[in-house]
Protein backbone atom coordinates (compact mmCIF):
# COMPACT_ATOMS: atom_id res chain seq x y z
CA UNK A 1 0.00 0.00 0.00
CA UNK A 2 1.47 3.37 -0.94
CA UNK A 3 2.32 5.72 1.90
CA UNK A 4 -0.05 8.66 2.33
CA UNK A 5 1.61 10.22 5.34
CA UNK A 6 3.06 13.09 3.38
CA UNK A 7 0.31 13.50 0.79
CA UNK A 8 0.75 17.30 0.89
CA UNK A 9 4.28 17.01 -0.52
CA UNK A 10 4.40 16.83 -4.32
CA UNK A 11 5.59 13.59 -5.87
CA UNK A 12 8.19 15.57 -7.87
CA UNK A 13 9.76 16.78 -4.65
CA UNK A 14 9.94 13.23 -3.29
CA UNK A 15 11.42 12.06 -6.57
CA UNK A 16 13.99 14.88 -6.51
CA UNK A 17 15.19 13.85 -3.07
CA UNK A 18 15.26 10.19 -4.05
CA UNK A 19 17.36 11.04 -7.10
CA UNK A 20 19.74 12.99 -4.88
CA UNK A 21 20.25 9.94 -2.68
CA UNK A 22 20.68 7.69 -5.69
CA UNK A 23 23.25 10.00 -7.24
CA UNK A 24 25.60 9.68 -4.28
CA UNK A 25 28.71 7.79 -5.44
CA UNK A 26 28.43 5.39 -2.50
CA UNK A 27 24.88 4.34 -3.33
CA UNK A 28 25.80 1.72 -5.88
CA UNK A 29 28.07 -0.07 -3.42
CA UNK A 30 25.50 0.04 -0.63
CA UNK A 31 22.54 -1.51 -2.45
CA UNK A 32 22.51 -4.63 -4.59
CA UNK A 33 18.93 -5.79 -4.06
CA UNK A 34 17.25 -7.55 -1.18
CA UNK A 35 16.45 -11.16 -0.36
CA UNK A 36 13.98 -10.01 2.30
CA UNK A 37 15.69 -12.48 4.62
CA UNK A 38 15.59 -10.21 7.67
CA UNK A 39 19.15 -10.89 8.79
CA UNK A 40 19.76 -7.16 9.02
CA UNK A 41 16.70 -6.77 11.24
CA UNK A 42 17.87 -9.50 13.57
CA UNK A 43 21.21 -7.72 13.95
CA UNK A 44 19.82 -4.20 14.26
CA UNK A 45 19.69 -2.57 17.71
CA UNK A 46 17.25 0.10 16.59
CA UNK A 47 14.81 -2.48 15.24
CA UNK A 48 14.55 -3.85 18.77
CA UNK A 49 13.43 -0.65 20.42
CA UNK A 50 11.81 1.41 17.67
CA UNK A 51 9.28 0.80 14.95
CA UNK A 52 12.16 0.63 12.51
CA UNK A 53 13.54 -1.85 10.00
CA UNK A 54 16.72 -1.79 7.90
CA UNK A 55 15.08 -4.39 5.64
CA UNK A 56 12.30 -1.96 4.79
CA UNK A 57 14.85 0.74 3.94
CA UNK A 58 16.71 -1.59 1.58
CA UNK A 59 13.51 -2.85 -0.02
CA UNK A 60 12.01 0.59 -0.47
CA UNK A 61 15.14 1.82 -2.22
CA UNK A 62 15.48 -1.34 -4.31
CA UNK A 63 11.87 -0.99 -5.46
CA UNK A 64 12.28 2.76 -5.92
CA UNK A 65 9.10 3.43 -4.00
CA UNK A 66 9.53 7.19 -3.70
CA UNK A 67 6.44 7.69 -1.51
CA UNK A 68 7.66 5.26 1.11
CA UNK A 69 11.20 6.58 0.68
CA UNK A 70 10.01 10.06 1.60
CA UNK A 71 8.21 8.73 4.66
CA UNK A 72 11.36 6.90 5.78
CA UNK A 73 13.50 9.97 5.10
CA UNK A 74 11.33 11.86 7.56
CA UNK A 75 10.28 9.31 10.12
CA UNK A 76 12.86 6.54 10.23
CA UNK A 77 16.40 7.50 9.44
CA UNK A 78 17.18 9.25 12.73
CA UNK A 79 16.38 6.07 14.66
CA UNK A 80 19.34 4.24 13.14
CA UNK A 81 22.34 3.76 15.44
CA UNK A 82 24.85 3.76 12.57
CA UNK A 83 26.46 0.65 14.03
CA UNK A 84 26.59 -1.19 10.69
CA UNK A 85 25.57 -4.48 12.25
CA UNK A 86 23.34 -4.75 9.18
CA UNK A 87 26.48 -5.06 7.04
CA UNK A 88 26.24 -8.82 7.58
CA UNK A 89 23.57 -8.77 4.85
CA UNK A 90 24.09 -11.80 2.58
CA UNK A 91 23.19 -9.64 -0.43
CA UNK A 92 26.08 -7.32 0.56
CA UNK A 93 23.83 -4.34 1.15
CA UNK A 94 24.62 -1.76 3.77
CA UNK A 95 21.26 -0.45 5.00
CA UNK A 96 23.15 1.66 7.54
CA UNK A 97 25.23 3.15 4.71
CA UNK A 98 22.08 3.94 2.74
CA UNK A 99 20.77 5.71 5.83
CA UNK A 100 23.99 7.74 6.09
CA UNK A 101 23.33 9.06 2.59
CA UNK A 102 19.63 9.65 3.29
CA UNK A 103 20.46 11.64 6.42
CA UNK A 104 22.93 13.78 4.54
CA UNK A 105 20.31 14.57 1.91
CA UNK A 106 17.76 15.33 4.64
CA UNK A 107 20.16 17.82 6.23
CA UNK A 108 21.15 19.42 2.93
CA UNK A 109 17.50 19.99 2.14
CA UNK A 110 16.62 21.31 5.59
CA UNK A 111 13.65 18.99 6.17
CA UNK A 112 11.47 20.06 9.08
CA UNK A 113 11.63 16.60 10.65
CA UNK A 114 15.44 16.72 10.46
CA UNK A 115 15.54 20.04 12.28
CA UNK A 116 13.33 18.54 14.97
CA UNK A 117 15.42 15.39 15.27
CA UNK A 118 18.65 17.37 15.62
CA UNK A 119 17.33 20.20 17.78
CA UNK A 120 19.00 18.85 20.91
CA UNK A 121 22.23 18.12 19.11
CA UNK A 122 23.31 21.52 17.81
CA UNK A 123 25.55 22.29 20.80
CA UNK A 124 27.62 19.25 19.89
CA UNK A 125 27.80 20.25 16.24
CA UNK A 126 29.11 23.62 17.33
CA UNK A 127 31.70 21.98 19.55
CA UNK A 128 33.16 19.62 17.00
CA UNK A 129 33.14 22.04 14.12
CA UNK A 130 34.75 24.91 15.98
CA UNK A 131 37.22 23.06 18.19
CA UNK A 132 38.17 19.90 16.34
CA UNK A 133 37.21 17.66 19.26
CA UNK A 134 33.75 16.29 19.81
CA UNK A 135 33.46 15.90 23.55
CA UNK A 136 34.99 18.01 26.24
CA UNK A 137 35.34 17.07 29.89
CA UNK A 138 33.40 20.18 30.95
CA UNK A 139 30.31 18.77 29.25
CA UNK A 140 30.14 16.23 32.07
CA UNK A 141 27.63 18.10 34.21
CA UNK A 142 25.05 16.60 36.52
CA UNK A 143 22.12 18.36 34.90
CA UNK A 144 23.09 17.04 31.44
CA UNK A 145 23.63 13.45 32.58
CA UNK A 146 21.34 12.88 35.58
CA UNK A 147 21.02 9.19 34.75
CA UNK A 148 24.78 8.52 34.84
CA UNK A 149 24.90 8.59 38.62
CA UNK A 150 26.96 10.42 41.24
CA UNK A 151 30.28 9.91 39.45
CA UNK A 152 29.38 12.67 36.96
CA UNK A 153 29.06 15.09 39.85
CA UNK A 154 32.40 13.95 41.24
CA UNK A 155 34.04 14.59 37.85
CA UNK A 156 32.52 18.03 37.43
CA UNK A 157 33.45 19.08 40.97
CA UNK A 158 37.06 17.95 40.56
CA UNK A 159 37.38 18.64 36.87
CA UNK A 160 40.28 21.04 36.75
CA UNK A 161 42.41 19.23 39.30
CA UNK A 162 41.64 15.76 37.92
CA UNK A 163 42.61 16.88 34.44
CA UNK A 164 45.89 18.17 35.80
CA UNK A 165 46.36 14.79 37.48
CA UNK A 166 46.75 13.18 34.04
CA UNK A 167 50.30 12.34 32.93
CA UNK A 168 49.89 13.10 29.16
CA UNK A 169 50.46 16.80 28.64
CA UNK A 170 47.99 16.97 25.77
CA UNK A 171 45.16 16.04 28.14
CA UNK A 172 45.52 19.00 30.50
CA UNK A 173 42.34 20.42 29.07
CA UNK A 174 38.78 20.98 30.25
CA UNK A 175 37.20 22.65 27.21
CA UNK A 176 38.65 20.21 24.65
CA UNK A 177 39.28 16.45 24.65
CA UNK A 178 42.96 17.22 24.08
CA UNK A 179 44.97 20.29 23.18
CA UNK A 180 44.49 21.02 19.50
CA UNK A 181 46.81 23.55 17.88
CA UNK A 182 45.22 26.73 16.61
CA UNK A 183 46.51 26.14 13.10
CA UNK A 184 45.00 22.64 13.14
CA UNK A 185 41.56 24.03 14.00
CA UNK A 186 41.89 26.64 11.29
CA UNK A 187 42.65 23.96 8.73
CA UNK A 188 39.48 22.21 9.85
CA UNK A 189 37.53 25.44 9.28
CA UNK A 190 39.00 25.66 5.79
CA UNK A 191 37.87 22.08 5.11
CA UNK A 192 34.32 22.81 6.31
CA UNK A 193 34.22 25.88 4.08
CA UNK A 194 35.76 24.30 0.98
CA UNK A 195 33.50 21.23 1.09
CA UNK A 196 30.25 23.10 1.62
CA UNK A 197 29.75 21.65 5.08
CA UNK A 198 29.18 25.04 6.63
CA UNK A 199 26.40 25.66 4.09
CA UNK A 200 24.73 22.43 5.25
CA UNK A 201 24.54 23.88 8.76
CA UNK A 202 22.73 26.87 7.30
CA UNK A 203 19.91 24.56 6.21
CA UNK A 204 19.70 23.08 9.67
CA UNK A 205 20.01 26.08 11.94
CA UNK A 206 20.54 29.58 10.60
CA UNK A 207 21.56 31.06 13.95
CA UNK A 208 24.18 28.39 14.52
CA UNK A 209 25.43 28.84 10.98
CA UNK A 210 25.90 32.57 11.42
CA UNK A 211 27.81 32.20 14.67
CA UNK A 212 30.08 29.55 13.18
CA UNK A 213 30.64 31.49 9.99
CA UNK A 214 31.75 34.54 11.90
CA UNK A 215 34.19 32.56 14.02
CA UNK A 216 35.57 30.71 11.01
CA UNK A 217 35.81 33.71 8.69
CA UNK A 218 37.70 35.78 11.25
CA UNK A 219 40.10 32.93 11.99
CA UNK A 220 40.64 32.09 8.33
CA UNK A 221 41.32 35.68 7.41
CA UNK A 222 43.96 35.85 10.12
CA UNK A 223 45.52 32.52 9.17
CA UNK A 224 45.63 33.19 5.45
CA UNK A 225 44.18 29.75 4.70
CA UNK A 226 41.99 29.29 1.62
CA UNK A 227 38.21 29.13 1.86
CA UNK A 228 37.35 27.87 -1.60
Amino acid sequence: MPSDRYAEVALEEKQRLFDEVKADPRYKTYLYGCYECGICVAACPSARFYDFSPRKIAQTLAREDVELFYEQLNDDVWNCSQCFSCNRCPRQNSPGGLITIMREVAVKNGLRTTKEALAGYTRIIYKIMTTGTQVSPDMLQEDAFPDWGPQVKAVSQNLDVWRRALPPETLHTTGLSWQVEERTMHELYAIWKMTGTLDMIGELDEGLHDIMEEIMDDALEESGLPTE
Binding site: S81, M129, P167
Partner: protein, 399 residues
Protein backbone atom coordinates in the same frame (compact mmCIF):
# COMPACT_ATOMS: atom_id res chain seq x y z
CA UNK B 1 26.29 -15.55 50.91
CA UNK B 2 28.15 -18.47 49.33
CA UNK B 3 29.39 -17.73 45.81
CA UNK B 4 27.50 -19.66 43.18
CA UNK B 5 29.56 -21.63 40.71
CA UNK B 6 28.23 -20.45 37.38
CA UNK B 7 29.41 -22.49 34.41
CA UNK B 8 31.39 -20.43 31.94
CA UNK B 9 31.24 -21.53 28.34
CA UNK B 10 34.78 -20.38 27.55
CA UNK B 11 35.81 -19.21 24.14
CA UNK B 12 35.30 -22.34 22.03
CA UNK B 13 32.61 -21.69 19.48
CA UNK B 14 30.09 -24.53 19.58
CA UNK B 15 30.42 -25.74 16.00
CA UNK B 16 32.01 -28.63 14.20
CA UNK B 17 32.37 -26.62 11.02
CA UNK B 18 35.94 -25.84 10.02
CA UNK B 19 36.39 -22.43 8.49
CA UNK B 20 39.09 -22.60 5.82
CA UNK B 21 40.39 -19.20 4.89
CA UNK B 22 41.23 -18.53 1.32
CA UNK B 23 42.31 -15.00 0.43
CA UNK B 24 41.50 -15.69 -3.23
CA UNK B 25 37.79 -16.19 -2.63
CA UNK B 26 36.91 -13.37 -0.26
CA UNK B 27 34.51 -10.60 -1.09
CA UNK B 28 36.43 -7.86 0.71
CA UNK B 29 39.20 -6.84 -1.60
CA UNK B 30 42.70 -6.19 -0.35
CA UNK B 31 43.33 -2.54 -1.10
CA UNK B 32 46.99 -2.46 -0.28
CA UNK B 33 48.33 -3.19 -3.74
CA UNK B 34 46.02 -0.52 -5.17
CA UNK B 35 47.36 1.92 -2.59
CA UNK B 36 50.96 1.27 -3.64
CA UNK B 37 49.95 1.43 -7.30
CA UNK B 38 48.36 4.85 -6.78
CA UNK B 39 51.54 5.83 -4.98
CA UNK B 40 53.66 4.76 -7.98
CA UNK B 41 51.38 6.77 -10.26
CA UNK B 42 51.99 9.87 -8.15
CA UNK B 43 48.41 10.12 -6.91
CA UNK B 44 49.57 10.17 -3.31
CA UNK B 45 52.53 9.43 -1.07
CA UNK B 46 52.31 6.07 0.66
CA UNK B 47 53.62 6.06 4.21
CA UNK B 48 55.15 2.63 4.88
CA UNK B 49 54.68 0.85 8.20
CA UNK B 50 57.95 1.43 10.06
CA UNK B 51 60.09 -1.47 11.14
CA UNK B 52 59.98 -3.40 13.35
CA UNK B 53 56.45 -4.55 12.68
CA UNK B 54 54.38 -7.55 13.69
CA UNK B 55 52.48 -9.61 11.11
CA UNK B 56 48.95 -10.30 12.30
CA UNK B 57 46.43 -12.56 10.54
CA UNK B 58 43.21 -10.95 9.31
CA UNK B 59 39.76 -12.37 8.64
CA UNK B 60 40.60 -14.08 5.38
CA UNK B 61 44.20 -14.89 6.13
CA UNK B 62 46.06 -11.86 4.82
CA UNK B 63 48.90 -10.70 7.02
CA UNK B 64 48.58 -7.16 8.32
CA UNK B 65 51.63 -5.15 9.36
CA UNK B 66 51.31 -3.73 12.87
CA UNK B 67 53.98 -1.18 13.80
CA UNK B 68 55.48 -1.66 17.24
CA UNK B 69 56.94 1.79 17.72
CA UNK B 70 57.34 5.21 16.10
CA UNK B 71 53.57 5.47 16.36
CA UNK B 72 51.59 8.73 16.06
CA UNK B 73 48.67 8.47 18.45
CA UNK B 74 45.43 9.49 16.78
CA UNK B 75 43.44 10.19 19.89
CA UNK B 76 39.71 9.87 20.28
CA UNK B 77 37.36 12.60 21.41
CA UNK B 78 35.39 10.43 23.80
CA UNK B 79 38.27 8.60 25.39
CA UNK B 80 40.25 11.72 25.92
CA UNK B 81 37.21 13.72 27.04
CA UNK B 82 35.78 11.44 29.67
CA UNK B 83 37.70 8.13 29.77
CA UNK B 84 41.21 9.58 29.88
CA UNK B 85 42.67 6.44 31.44
CA UNK B 86 42.06 4.62 28.18
CA UNK B 87 44.61 6.65 26.22
CA UNK B 88 46.85 7.23 29.21
CA UNK B 89 47.17 3.46 29.58
CA UNK B 90 48.16 3.07 25.93
CA UNK B 91 50.87 5.71 26.30
CA UNK B 92 52.04 4.21 29.59
CA UNK B 93 52.35 0.73 28.04
CA UNK B 94 54.46 2.23 25.25
CA UNK B 95 56.73 3.78 27.85
CA UNK B 96 56.91 0.58 29.85
CA UNK B 97 58.05 -1.30 26.74
CA UNK B 98 60.54 1.44 25.94
CA UNK B 99 58.86 2.35 22.65
CA UNK B 100 59.22 5.72 21.00
CA UNK B 101 55.80 7.28 20.29
CA UNK B 102 54.31 10.68 19.51
CA UNK B 103 51.25 12.28 21.13
CA UNK B 104 50.32 15.07 18.69
CA UNK B 105 48.51 18.36 19.09
CA UNK B 106 48.29 18.73 15.32
CA UNK B 107 45.31 16.37 15.21
CA UNK B 108 41.58 16.89 15.05
CA UNK B 109 38.91 14.34 15.85
CA UNK B 110 38.03 12.12 12.89
CA UNK B 111 34.65 13.94 13.12
CA UNK B 112 32.83 10.67 12.40
CA UNK B 113 30.88 10.75 15.66
CA UNK B 114 29.30 13.99 14.54
CA UNK B 115 28.80 12.73 11.01
CA UNK B 116 27.09 9.49 12.09
CA UNK B 117 25.00 11.40 14.63
CA UNK B 118 23.92 14.45 12.72
CA UNK B 119 24.97 14.00 9.06
CA UNK B 120 26.19 17.61 9.04
CA UNK B 121 29.18 16.78 6.90
CA UNK B 122 29.76 15.04 3.62
CA UNK B 123 32.00 12.54 1.89
CA UNK B 124 34.62 15.03 0.76
CA UNK B 125 34.81 16.78 4.12
CA UNK B 126 35.16 13.52 6.01
CA UNK B 127 37.86 12.32 3.65
CA UNK B 128 39.69 15.65 3.88
CA UNK B 129 39.71 15.49 7.68
CA UNK B 130 41.18 11.98 7.54
CA UNK B 131 43.83 12.92 5.00
CA UNK B 132 44.76 16.09 6.87
CA UNK B 133 45.42 14.01 9.96
CA UNK B 134 47.40 11.46 7.95
CA UNK B 135 49.54 14.17 6.41
CA UNK B 136 50.16 15.65 9.86
CA UNK B 137 51.39 12.25 11.03
CA UNK B 138 53.60 11.82 7.98
CA UNK B 139 55.22 15.20 8.56
CA UNK B 140 56.35 14.09 12.02
CA UNK B 141 57.81 10.84 10.67
CA UNK B 142 55.63 8.78 13.01
CA UNK B 143 53.02 6.26 11.89
CA UNK B 144 49.31 6.71 12.70
CA UNK B 145 47.88 4.39 15.35
CA UNK B 146 44.17 4.93 15.71
CA UNK B 147 42.77 4.83 19.26
CA UNK B 148 39.07 4.78 18.45
CA UNK B 149 37.05 1.96 16.84
CA UNK B 150 34.89 4.43 14.96
CA UNK B 151 37.83 6.46 13.66
CA UNK B 152 39.44 3.21 12.53
CA UNK B 153 36.33 1.93 10.69
CA UNK B 154 35.55 5.32 9.24
CA UNK B 155 39.08 5.87 7.97
CA UNK B 156 38.99 2.47 6.28
CA UNK B 157 35.74 3.47 4.56
CA UNK B 158 37.36 6.73 3.50
CA UNK B 159 40.38 4.83 2.14
CA UNK B 160 38.07 2.52 0.20
CA UNK B 161 36.23 5.50 -1.30
CA UNK B 162 39.45 7.33 -2.19
CA UNK B 163 40.92 4.28 -3.90
CA UNK B 164 37.81 3.70 -6.00
CA UNK B 165 36.66 7.22 -6.76
CA UNK B 166 39.19 9.24 -8.74
CA UNK B 167 36.97 12.31 -8.69
CA UNK B 168 36.76 12.31 -4.92
CA UNK B 169 40.49 11.64 -4.68
CA UNK B 170 41.33 14.65 -6.86
CA UNK B 171 38.90 16.86 -4.96
CA UNK B 172 40.35 15.91 -1.58
CA UNK B 173 43.90 16.13 -2.85
CA UNK B 174 43.27 19.68 -4.06
CA UNK B 175 41.97 20.62 -0.61
CA UNK B 176 44.96 19.11 1.21
CA UNK B 177 47.39 20.80 -1.17
CA UNK B 178 45.68 24.15 -0.60
CA UNK B 179 46.38 23.64 3.08
CA UNK B 180 50.03 23.29 2.13
CA UNK B 181 50.17 19.64 3.14
CA UNK B 182 51.40 16.50 1.38
CA UNK B 183 48.70 14.05 0.28
CA UNK B 184 49.52 10.86 2.17
CA UNK B 185 47.90 7.46 2.57
CA UNK B 186 49.33 5.12 5.21
CA UNK B 187 50.19 1.64 3.99
CA UNK B 188 47.93 0.09 6.64
CA UNK B 189 45.26 1.57 8.87
CA UNK B 190 45.98 0.23 12.33
CA UNK B 191 43.88 0.22 15.49
CA UNK B 192 45.54 0.38 18.90
CA UNK B 193 43.96 -2.94 19.90
CA UNK B 194 45.88 -4.54 17.05
CA UNK B 195 49.02 -3.07 18.56
CA UNK B 196 47.93 -4.55 21.92
CA UNK B 197 47.56 -7.88 20.12
CA UNK B 198 51.03 -7.50 18.66
CA UNK B 199 52.67 -6.82 22.03
CA UNK B 200 50.62 -9.28 24.08
CA UNK B 201 53.54 -11.64 24.71
CA UNK B 202 55.80 -8.85 25.91
CA UNK B 203 53.05 -7.77 28.28
CA UNK B 204 52.33 -11.25 29.58
CA UNK B 205 55.98 -11.56 30.63
CA UNK B 206 55.45 -8.62 32.97
CA UNK B 207 52.17 -9.62 34.63
CA UNK B 208 52.24 -8.85 38.36
CA UNK B 209 49.09 -10.63 39.56
CA UNK B 210 47.46 -14.03 39.25
CA UNK B 211 44.54 -13.34 36.94
CA UNK B 212 43.35 -16.92 36.59
CA UNK B 213 40.31 -16.26 38.80
CA UNK B 214 39.29 -13.20 36.80
CA UNK B 215 36.57 -13.69 34.21
CA UNK B 216 36.11 -11.07 31.53
CA UNK B 217 33.51 -10.71 28.83
CA UNK B 218 34.60 -8.98 25.66
CA UNK B 219 32.48 -6.59 23.64
CA UNK B 220 34.08 -6.11 20.23
CA UNK B 221 33.32 -2.68 18.79
CA UNK B 222 30.99 -2.69 15.77
CA UNK B 223 33.05 -0.21 13.80
CA UNK B 224 36.20 -2.20 14.43
CA UNK B 225 35.10 -5.33 12.57
CA UNK B 226 31.80 -4.65 10.79
CA UNK B 227 33.10 -1.87 8.51
CA UNK B 228 35.60 -3.06 5.88
CA UNK B 229 35.64 -6.32 7.79
CA UNK B 230 38.41 -8.13 5.92
CA UNK B 231 40.97 -5.89 7.56
CA UNK B 232 40.30 -6.85 11.21
CA UNK B 233 42.48 -9.29 13.19
CA UNK B 234 41.23 -12.89 13.29
CA UNK B 235 43.45 -15.53 14.85
CA UNK B 236 42.84 -19.26 14.34
CA UNK B 237 43.82 -19.74 18.00
CA UNK B 238 41.03 -17.46 19.21
CA UNK B 239 37.43 -18.61 18.75
CA UNK B 240 38.73 -20.85 15.98
CA UNK B 241 39.10 -17.72 13.86
CA UNK B 242 35.31 -17.28 13.83
CA UNK B 243 35.36 -13.95 15.63
CA UNK B 244 37.81 -11.13 15.82
CA UNK B 245 40.72 -11.86 18.15
CA UNK B 246 41.21 -8.22 19.16
CA UNK B 247 40.92 -7.77 22.94
CA UNK B 248 40.28 -11.49 23.65
CA UNK B 249 43.76 -12.66 22.64
CA UNK B 250 45.41 -10.08 24.89
CA UNK B 251 43.24 -10.87 27.89
CA UNK B 252 43.86 -14.59 27.56
CA UNK B 253 47.58 -14.07 27.12
CA UNK B 254 47.59 -12.11 30.37
CA UNK B 255 46.16 -15.17 32.10
CA UNK B 256 42.52 -14.16 32.64
CA UNK B 257 39.47 -16.14 31.50
CA UNK B 258 37.28 -14.87 28.68
CA UNK B 259 33.68 -16.06 28.85
CA UNK B 260 31.34 -16.29 25.92
CA UNK B 261 27.78 -14.93 25.91
CA UNK B 262 24.98 -15.09 23.38
CA UNK B 263 24.67 -11.41 22.39
CA UNK B 264 28.32 -11.13 21.47
CA UNK B 265 27.60 -9.66 18.01
CA UNK B 266 25.20 -7.02 19.30
CA UNK B 267 26.08 -3.35 19.28
CA UNK B 268 26.48 -1.58 22.67
CA UNK B 269 23.62 0.82 21.91
CA UNK B 270 25.79 3.92 21.61
CA UNK B 271 23.93 5.23 18.57
CA UNK B 272 26.07 8.41 18.24
CA UNK B 273 23.15 10.82 18.60
CA UNK B 274 21.34 8.58 21.06
CA UNK B 275 24.04 8.52 23.73
CA UNK B 276 23.81 12.29 24.02
CA UNK B 277 20.17 13.15 23.40
CA UNK B 278 18.17 9.89 23.46
CA UNK B 279 19.80 7.92 26.20
CA UNK B 280 16.74 5.86 27.08
CA UNK B 281 17.48 3.87 23.93
CA UNK B 282 21.19 3.48 24.68
CA UNK B 283 20.51 2.54 28.28
CA UNK B 284 17.88 -0.05 27.39
CA UNK B 285 20.05 -1.69 24.77
CA UNK B 286 23.29 -1.59 26.76
CA UNK B 287 21.75 -3.11 29.86
CA UNK B 288 19.05 -5.45 28.53
CA UNK B 289 20.94 -6.83 25.55
CA UNK B 290 24.51 -6.73 26.79
CA UNK B 291 25.21 -6.37 30.53
CA UNK B 292 22.26 -8.42 31.80
CA UNK B 293 22.94 -11.19 29.31
CA UNK B 294 26.61 -11.24 30.29
CA UNK B 295 25.66 -11.35 33.97
CA UNK B 296 23.23 -14.16 33.49
CA UNK B 297 25.37 -16.29 31.20
CA UNK B 298 28.92 -15.60 32.36
CA UNK B 299 28.84 -13.49 35.56
CA UNK B 300 32.05 -11.61 34.56
CA UNK B 301 34.26 -9.57 36.88
CA UNK B 302 34.83 -7.02 34.13
CA UNK B 303 33.65 -6.10 30.63
CA UNK B 304 36.47 -5.24 28.23
CA UNK B 305 36.20 -3.41 24.96
CA UNK B 306 38.30 -1.32 22.59
CA UNK B 307 36.30 1.73 21.69
CA UNK B 308 35.28 4.97 23.34
CA UNK B 309 31.60 4.69 22.62
CA UNK B 310 31.33 1.15 23.89
CA UNK B 311 33.03 1.91 27.22
CA UNK B 312 30.73 4.90 27.65
CA UNK B 313 27.45 3.13 26.81
CA UNK B 314 28.20 0.00 28.78
CA UNK B 315 29.61 1.78 31.84
CA UNK B 316 27.34 4.81 32.19
CA UNK B 317 24.09 3.01 31.39
CA UNK B 318 24.26 0.77 34.42
CA UNK B 319 23.48 3.31 37.15
CA UNK B 320 19.86 3.94 36.19
CA UNK B 321 19.25 0.26 35.47
CA UNK B 322 20.61 -0.61 38.91
CA UNK B 323 18.19 1.85 40.45
CA UNK B 324 15.43 -0.21 38.86
CA UNK B 325 16.75 -3.37 40.46
CA UNK B 326 18.09 -4.84 37.21
CA UNK B 327 20.78 -7.50 37.27
CA UNK B 328 23.71 -5.23 36.33
CA UNK B 329 26.84 -3.87 38.03
CA UNK B 330 29.95 -4.96 36.13
CA UNK B 331 32.91 -2.58 35.70
CA UNK B 332 33.74 -1.65 32.11
CA UNK B 333 37.09 -0.57 30.71
CA UNK B 334 39.35 -0.90 27.71
CA UNK B 335 41.74 -3.82 27.48
CA UNK B 336 44.54 -1.22 27.54
CA UNK B 337 43.46 -0.24 31.06
CA UNK B 338 43.07 -3.87 32.12
CA UNK B 339 46.47 -4.82 30.70
CA UNK B 340 48.10 -1.82 32.33
CA UNK B 341 46.63 -2.85 35.71
CA UNK B 342 47.87 -6.39 35.16
CA UNK B 343 51.44 -5.27 34.56
CA UNK B 344 51.49 -2.95 37.56
CA UNK B 345 50.09 0.42 36.46
CA UNK B 346 48.59 2.62 39.14
CA UNK B 347 44.78 2.29 39.02
CA UNK B 348 44.24 6.04 39.40
CA UNK B 349 47.42 7.81 38.28
CA UNK B 350 47.54 5.76 35.08
CA UNK B 351 44.27 3.90 34.55
CA UNK B 352 42.21 6.81 35.90
CA UNK B 353 39.41 4.54 37.05
CA UNK B 354 37.79 7.30 39.10
CA UNK B 355 36.26 8.56 35.84
CA UNK B 356 34.24 5.32 35.52
CA UNK B 357 30.72 4.95 36.87
CA UNK B 358 30.40 1.29 37.94
CA UNK B 359 32.24 0.22 41.10
CA UNK B 360 35.58 -1.23 39.97
CA UNK B 361 36.90 -1.91 43.48
CA UNK B 362 35.70 -5.54 43.78
CA UNK B 363 37.61 -6.30 40.56
CA UNK B 364 40.79 -4.66 41.82
CA UNK B 365 40.56 -6.50 45.15
CA UNK B 366 40.13 -9.77 43.31
CA UNK B 367 43.18 -8.99 41.18
CA UNK B 368 45.16 -8.39 44.37
CA UNK B 369 45.49 -4.61 44.04
CA UNK B 370 45.35 -2.48 47.17
CA UNK B 371 42.72 0.01 46.05
CA UNK B 372 42.50 1.96 49.28
CA UNK B 373 46.21 2.64 49.33
CA UNK B 374 46.23 3.58 45.67
CA UNK B 375 43.34 6.01 46.16
CA UNK B 376 45.08 7.60 49.15
CA UNK B 377 48.18 8.10 46.99
CA UNK B 378 46.14 9.69 44.24
CA UNK B 379 44.31 11.93 46.70
CA UNK B 380 47.69 13.07 48.01
CA UNK B 381 48.69 14.00 44.45
CA UNK B 382 45.46 15.91 44.03
CA UNK B 383 46.07 17.82 47.26
CA UNK B 384 49.53 18.79 46.05
CA UNK B 385 48.07 20.07 42.78
CA UNK B 386 45.37 21.98 44.65
CA UNK B 387 47.92 23.66 46.90
CA UNK B 388 50.30 24.51 44.11
CA UNK B 389 53.06 22.14 45.26
CA UNK B 390 52.78 20.31 41.96
CA UNK B 391 51.42 21.75 38.73
CA UNK B 392 50.63 18.50 36.96
CA UNK B 393 51.02 14.79 37.43
CA UNK B 394 53.84 13.86 35.07
CA UNK B 395 55.17 10.66 33.54
CA UNK B 396 58.01 10.72 36.06
CA UNK B 397 55.42 10.15 38.82
CA UNK B 398 53.95 7.04 37.27
CA UNK B 399 56.73 4.91 35.86
Amino acid sequence: MEPIDIPVAGTKVQTSRVFERDPETVRDEDLREAIWELGREGEWIVQPVPEPYYLAPTKFGRQKKIPLEHTWHHKSCGQCGHIPGYSTSIFWLNRLLGFDYFDPRDQTSCTAWNYYASATSNQAAQAAVAMRNFSAAYETGYYPLIHCGTSFGHYKEVRHELVHDAKLRRQVRAIIEKLGRPFVMPEEIVHYSEWMYAVRKQLSERVQFDLSKITATVHPACHYYKLQSGDAIYDPEIYGGQRTAAVTAVVQELGAQVADYSTWYDCCGFGFRHILVQRDFTRSFATLRKIEVMKQEANPDVVLTHDTGCVTSLDKSQFAAQAHGRNVGVPVMSESQFAALAVGAHPFRVCQLHWHAVDYRPLLHKMGIDVERAWAEFEADVEKIKHGEMEYLTWEHVL
